[in-house]
């Protein structure tokens, strides 16, 4: 188990980065909505290129750090990784959100490359499409994760229950 001097900085980093991830998704949604609503060619170009930059330099680093700091935190504290349902559920949701983000990376990069091409017209740029389903869906998933992490709903897994039984037996002694 981590001592408090180590646990607290990791916990603070995890919270700050996870909330930052949500903020970066919000910025991405703003650009994504612009690609749907704007008719202006410079705005469309800037939005697609901006989405790529936000993804590469904010979303991906924040997602990877949030996921890995969550792993480290659960393994180094009493919560464990597979002992409590709320940890298992948030782990699965975070892994899914990160995986979807990584799968979308080439799509977002391709659109940014197309947007940088001077031969592309405003209509061509609009036809590139949007990622609103993924970006808004991703924000909702991150919101659900945040709520579960704060509330920490009760519920031991079968593994967690067995570990608790073993620890209770060893505390009683032979």
């Amino acid at each position: 188990m981590f001592p408090p001097w180590l646990r607290q900085p990791i916990l603070i980093s995890h919270i700050v980065v996870s909330v930052g991830w949500m903020g970066a998704v919000a910025a991405f949604i703003v650009l994504d909505v612009t690609t749907v609503t704007s008719d202006s060619e410079p705005m469309l170009r800037a939005s697609y290129i901006g989405m790529d930059l936000v993804t590469k330099w904010a979303l991906v680093p924040l997602a990877l750090f949030a996921f890995s700091s969550g792993l480290v935190l659960s393994l180094g504290t009493k919560w464990g990784l597979f002992r409590h349902w709320w940890v298992v559920v948030t782990l699965l949701l975070t892994a899914a959100a990160t995986a979807v983000l990584l799968v979308q990376l080439p799509v977002i990069a391709h659109r940014a490359e197309a947007a940088a091409d001077p031969a592309m017209t405003a209509d061509d740029l609009r036809d590139l499409g949007n990622l609103l389903l993924h970006s808004i869906g991703g924000f909702v998933v991150l919101l659900v994760i945040a709520v579960i992490n704060v509330v920490k709903p009760r519920g031991l897994t079968a593994y967690g229950w067995r570990r608790q039984q073993d620890e209770a037996k060893s505390a009683k002694g032979p």
């Binding site: 349902w85 559920v89 389903l133 519920g155 079968a158 067995r162 039984q165």
Partner: protein
């Protein structure tokens, strides 16, 4: 506690799993419906 059976899956996990599954099915159905409408 000795001899008790391990706890089952909590209700909130089942409800959340149901919502996630329903959303995934709805997204897949809407996606294919949209593609079919585009082809016709």
């Amino acid at each position: 506690m000795d001899g008790e059976s391990p706890p089952g899956v909590p209700l909130w996990v089942k409800v959340l799993a149901g919502i996630v599954l329903a959303v995934l099915v709805a997204v897949v159905v809407l996606h294919y419906m949209g593609r079919m409408m585009l082809h016709h």
